[in-house]
Amino acid sequence: MSELVRLTDITKVYQGGVTGALNGVSLAIEEGEFTAIMGPSGSGKSTLLNLVAGLDRPSSGSVTVAGSDLGRLSETGLARFRRDRIGFVFQFFHLLPNLTALENVLIPAQLRSRVSAASAGRALMSRLGIGEVADRYPSRLSGGQQQRVAVARALINQPKLLLADEPTGALDTKSGDQVMALFAELHQEGQTIVLVTHDPKLATRCAARVISMLDGRVIDDARLETTERKPADVIRVRSEEPSR
């Protein structure tokens, strides 16, 4: 496996912030890995994900994804990078309400001028179990369906890396389970996934690697189901976090 993401000594300080959201984080993610980034609110996990997605820039350090040093890319370059290399799944889906499900899925492809992506989009949606709702507007879909549409949108350009920020946070348990099952399936097919969650059970359910964060630092990096660690170890680490 080759390295897909490398973060080197990343710090991120927001304007007016006294302490950093990230403080000297370094890590690497291999192609094909399913990595969960876990931590309580304010631990810096979403900030980390945003930096990997090219949505934000670090205060210092470097972020390299799929061979691209994101610090060297312009805003337009970053937009192309997100469009071509990254799929992003949000907690609140962020579907465009005035577009149908299929139109939402096709947007990244059409931004890339892939005008003939409709059949691919429909196929993808069918594969994700939402083929029958392709022509419906988001307001007519359940939360689970909306998130599947968001996943389809994230996958339409066959990204190198799928990023998901609390993808089940706005879903009921059943829908959340379905979405996680979908991620597991995608991982089985070779998709590199980075999942941000504050739920240790969710993190350890599908991910082969769990990175725990606290106060902007990586406090644990566990590869599960190996000789090194087991899911229970990760959950134990979580329970041993100092109270904040």
Binding site: E75, A79, H94, R112
Partner: protein, 773 residues
């Protein structure tokens, strides 16, 4: 109440750009409206005041010199005049000044005062000796003649010189750029200045109350009946003079009024859009306001005040600005009337405008704010923003079928996502583009009319001869010039026509006058004796139509005339006749043409021609290039139209800008999402510009028929007010290319206006926006 004000002020600070848009649009609309209403309310009064102060003549009649003065002195009693002036001996005087030749009808009068037609001496003094002359101030200013200047009379063989000693304002004649002018000498000076056969007497009549047009006609008819046939050579009444004085302001006030209504309508549309937009995007805030105790009326007040406060500021500046801007036009009127200029405004009118303006603004703001007041708090808090409709989906799909780039497809869909907002935006842009169409078209129409009136392109040289030089000699000189291609000679006679009180000024042409290219609206140009053309005003007042015959009277001789065409001519508000020289009865006294319009062969040297012809008879011939420049009032109207177009375009741009700002703010999460999935900043700008471009294109296309209709309507108003129908050619002043280009120009302007909200949207911080969710 304090809480409402505090909240409204805080929101205003937060929405500074929208406040600025409201301020500017209301300012422009109120300034334009105030200007129109101030002009309308103040222009009529100065003329009336001057007419009373100068004891203006309700009726002025010119009689043949052979009429017995004693008989003339008895005419006031015949028609029941309460006061009279005259008989004043009069003669047509031609004089030279500064190398130019001028004609003035000169009257013998020993004082400026009297019971009728008091002449207001504005500079110098009244004539005290026989070698002194008094001119109208209007003539002196137009032709740059100053007090103390010496003029040489060339219409009599002795060619005496006269000294200009005074300037007066005469309420009984129009300004020099629209009418021929009078001059005055002492009675004793008249005989030496009179060409035999060219003298008349003038009588001024004033009645106890302002007579109507039909009363005036009956007075002239009574005079005609009680005097020997042909005694009356000309007459003019105060109604015509007043119309000439007021016509420019009437047209300007008409145009200003129409377009200030446009400006107000556009402003209302913008404000309604704005408040609707603010309410839509602030559902959660409305819920919170209600949750903490704001009553529905309080919520409505907060939103309405956000519009009313900047609108009030705009009214407080716009109304005085409009009043001030109308002053130069009012000063111009006062100056022409010889009245001292006093800043003219009505405090009551200004207050009425303030109250009216605020009322309209309040209504425009309150109606959409009602939605906020009626919203249930829990609903508002839960759904945070108003649900977006699916409008625009059809357009988006059509655009997608055309395989347009995705940002353009999305932008096109966004343009009509809020149908009401889109409709109101269309209104503002339609009004702006339509005004531009009018502002471009009307000056062109005026230019066409001007070209027709001045013979632009049809003759290049105008020659006036002194009575001392026979017509035949002038023709010999002109025909001897190799460059002379055509000479049309012109005589003027006053012909009495049944149904019209004043004898009708007639243009009598000798030569191929059909080539002069007057605008023939219906029928044809005359081709023989007895055939005449007349403007619509004449035909209307005489109840004649093309093909009809009537009997006119010239110097007491009957003339059988047949109407063969309707012509456009603004002189005397449509009371004019055009005919061939051969129509005149043989032996008509003094009917030899005195003006010659010469068309030169292509490539001729105009200046060399003028110098050579003038050199043949330097004292007896006045030779000058044909002056085809626009008259002053038309220039003023053109300028007013230009200003109005700029105002309406600014308001239209404000409308587009406002809508885009609301759209981009309302769709900030969508934009952030699009950026997150790979839309570049440039693509965001393109998306916003596409939205603006489509709105402007649709509005531009809709505005073209509106603008063309308005152009037609205003042309008709101007034509009607000058006693004419509009010539069809005056409507068609736009090329197909221009008709296509104007909507595209609107698109270009809208795209430029979209750059600010576009850049703002492109700079959306994805993390901040999505995190806020």
């Amino acid at each position: 109440m304090t809480a409402i004000l505090v909240k409204a002020l805080a929101d205003l600070r937060r929405r500074r750009v929208q406040a600025a848009v409201i301020f500017l649009t209301v300012l422009l609309a109120m300034a334009t409206g105030t200007m129109a209403l101030t002009l309308m309310s103040q222009t009529r009064d100065p003329y009336q005041a001057a007419f009373e102060a100068q004891k203006g003549a309700h009726l002025q009649v010119e009689f043949k010199a052979s009429t017995d003065p004693q008989l003339l002195a008895s005419t006031p009693a015949i028609i029941g005049a309460s006061a009279a002036g005259g008989p004043y001996p009069a003669t047509s005087l031609q004089f030279k000044h500064g190398g130019q030749s001028f004609y003035v009808q000169t009257f013998g009068r020993d004082s400026a005062g009297g019971d009728v037609e008091v002449l207001n001496v504005t500079a110098g003094h009244w004539a005290r000796a026989n070698d002194e002359i008094v001119l109208t101030r209007s003539f002196a200013e137009l032709n740059k003649v100053s007090i103390g200047d010496t003029i040489q009379v060339v219409s009599v063989p002795a060619q005496p010189t006269l000294k200009v000693v005074g300037e007066v304002v005469d309420i009984d004649e129009g300004s020099a750029d629209l009418s021929s002018q009078h001059a005055w000498v002492l009675k004793g000076a008249v005989p030496a200045l009179t060409t035999p056969g060219l003298s008349t007497y003038l009588m001024d009549y004033r009645f106890p109350s302002d007579p109507t047009s039909s009363q005036l006609q009956s007075y002239v008819d009574r005079l005609r009946a009680s005097l020997p046939p042909g005694s009356i050579t000309a007459s003019i009444n105060y109604l015509l003079i007043r119309s000439i004085f007021n016509i420019t302001n009437q047209i300007i006030t008409g145009v200003l009024s129409a377009f200030s209504v446009f400006a107000l309508a556009a402003t209302i549309a913008i404000m309604a859009t704005l408040v609707t937009g603010i309410v839509i995007s602030a559902f959660r805030e409305i819920g919170i306001m209600k949750a903490v105790g704001f009553t529905p009326a309080g919520v409505i007040g907060v939103f309405a005040l956000q519009v009313i406060i900047p609108a009030l500021a705009a009214c407080l500046i716009g109304i005085p600005a409009g009043t001030i801007l109308s002053q130069p036009l009012l000063a111009n009127s006062s100056h022409a009337l010889g009245l001292p200029y006093v800043p003219s405004f009505s405090l009551g009118l200004d207050l009425l405008l303030l109250v009216g303006g605020l009322l309209v603004v309040s209504l425009a703001a309150t109606l959409p704010a009602l939605r906020a007041g009626l919203l249930k708090p829990i609903t508002a808090i839960t759904i945070a923003t108003a649900p977006r409709g699916r409008s625009g989906g059809w357009l988006r799909r059509q655009a997608a079928r055309l395989r347009l780039p995705q940002p353009i497809v999305l932008g096109i869909g966004d343009a009509f996502a809020r149908p009401l907002r889109a409709a109101l935006t269309l209104v503002t842009v339609i009004l702006g583009v339509a005004t531009v169409v009018v502002a471009i078209g009307l000056p062109r129409s005026f230019q066409l009319i001007n070209n027709s009136e001045t013979g632009a392109g049809n003759y290049q040289v105008v020659i006036n001869r002194s009575n001392a030089l026979p017509d035949a000699e002038v023709m010999r000189i002109l025909n001897a010039q190799p460059e002379t291609a055509r000479v049309v000679a012109l005589d003027g006679e006053n012909i009495a026509v049944p149904g019209i009180s004043d004898p009708v000024n007639s243009r009598i042409f000798r030569g191929d006058s059909s080539k002069l290219a007057y605008m023939v609206i219906a029928g044809r140009w005359f081709s023989g004796p007895g055939e005449v053309l007349a403007p619509a005003g004449f035909l209307h007042d005489t109840h004649l139509k093309i093909g009809d015959t009537f009997t006119g009277s010239l110097n007491g001789q009957a003339l059988q005339l047949r109407v063969v065409g309707e012509v456009y001519d603004i002189s005397n508000l449509g009371h004019e006749l055009f005919m061939d020289y051969a129509t005149l009865p043989p032996n008509t006294p003094n009917s030899d043409p005195s003006t010659y319009w010469v068309t030169l062969r292509p490539g001729s040297d105009l200046n060399a021609y003028i110098q050579r012809v003038a050199g043949t008879q330097p004292d007896l011939l006045d030779v000058h290039p044909n002056n085809t420049s626009l008259i002053g009032p038309v220039k003023i109207i053109d300028s007013v139209l230009l200003v109005l177009a700029v105002v309406l375009v600014l308001i239209g741009v404000g409308g587009i800008f406002n809508t885009l700002l609301l759209n981009t703010r309302e769709r900030i999460q969508d934009t952030a999402t699009l950026k997150a999935v790979g839309m570049s900043p440039r693509q965001v700008i393109v998306m916003v510009a596409a939205s603006a471009g489509l709105l402007a294109l649709v509005a531009g296309l809709m505005a073209m028929p509106v603008g063309l209709y308005l152009h037609r309507l205003l042309n008709d108003v101007v034509s009607t007010s000058t006693g004419n129908d509009t010539p069809p050619s005056v409507y068609g002043v736009f090329s197909i290319f221009e008709l296509m280009a104007m909507p595209l120009l609107a698109v270009a302007v809208a795209v430029v206006a979209s750059l600010v909200p576009g850049r703002w949207a492109a700079r959306t911080n994805v993390i901040e926006v999505l995190h806020a969710e």
